[in-house]
Symmetry: C2
Subunit: 229 residues, 2 copies
Amino acid sequence: MLRDWQSVRAEVLRRIHARDWKPGEMIPNEADLAAEFGCARSTVNRALRDIAQSGLLDRRRKAGTRVASNPAARATLTIPVMREEIEGTGRKYGYQLLSRSTEIPPVAESAAMQLPPDGTLLHIRALHLADDRPFALENRWIDPGVVPGVADAHFERISANEWLLQNAAYTHGEIAFSATVAGPADAPLLGCAAGAPLFVTERLTWDTTRAVTRVRILFAPGYQMRTGL
Amino acid sequence: MLRDWQSVRAEVLRRIHARDWKPGEMIPNEADLAAEFGCARSTVNRALRDIAQSGLLDRRRKAGTRVASNPAARATLTIPVMREEIEGTGRKYGYQLLSRSTEIPPVAESAAMQLPPDGTLLHIRALHLADDRPFALENRWIDPGVVPGVADAHFERISANEWLLQNAAYTHGEIAFSATVAGPADAPLLGCAAGAPLFVTERLTWDTTRAVTRVRILFAPGYQMRTGL
């Protein structure tokens, strides 16, 4: 007997993953499952709705419930601040501000941040180190109009990465991962040869309708981002 | 008045993101929040527990609840089968089996799959195309002892990616993302120059304690994996 909807969910997931219920197949109706599990029909309903949200089940009002034909795998990425990512692996964190200036950004930046092309932004370049070796190169633009107090932040001892997390409001964001090669200017900073393959994250953070910050992080060669499925 | 725990959660998240409640700060206790929101204390408790699970709040039995000092950003990645990823962007999907053989894998593969180094595995190499252009190169090892029927699957018309999703049971997996450069053998298959930067995913799938399949996918230059935060 399965008492709560979480137990029903676990059993349903087990059957899907074990392919007892195969992709594309109909599953028994809620009344039959409730009888089999010895629980209320509403408990089964709650569990199936939860699984449908994750995309593993297709529920149709009249036609019943099917296992999704090609369920997409879902993975949750946890993206800590750089210092905690490094310290979390037992290494010593280091930080070096390379430059801090107020500039008109390249058009690609202002366009992504939906800002007029002639406005100025705060531009930060910094290096994050793990055990004294280059770990990642941060290239960041911040809209000072959206982040009160940022004009007085020097980012000499605390990274913009960490300062913003403490001080800037945000509602949502977008993140993209890709690969690039180290250019001749970045390679020596990252301690690698020009042309070495680099993992890149690009992140754009919004406060409701206004872009807060856009950052491009180049990770030194060998970096892997890992998670469970 | 906030009636349900989901509404309480939304309001608490809003205050955290707006920095009304700043990272590291104590938040009001449950009784005070319940009075303010006009709901039961158990409703507040349910909402705070949910947020604590995501890492945004630190709850201590005696000391009360604080906003996490450096809350990690969390992003959910949806990883569909290659065909749906390509068709989902309005492009035509193409598939080409490059090779299918039974081999003793490199030691790195058998070690990752926790198999004896002298066992044989099914080895599949295939190309996925978008609008007739190379999209990704798949290099996959499958343990036929764990996947019934795989010995009879030819993978000439349906990719192992899709066939396994339909036919192989699994319980959990691991995925890693990194960058590499195109080697001289892979570059012509991917339609790029040797040395071009490639985004890589490596995925290892388990059925309880047995590895089902390990796959390395090299994406053609320019590929980005994107998600919301």
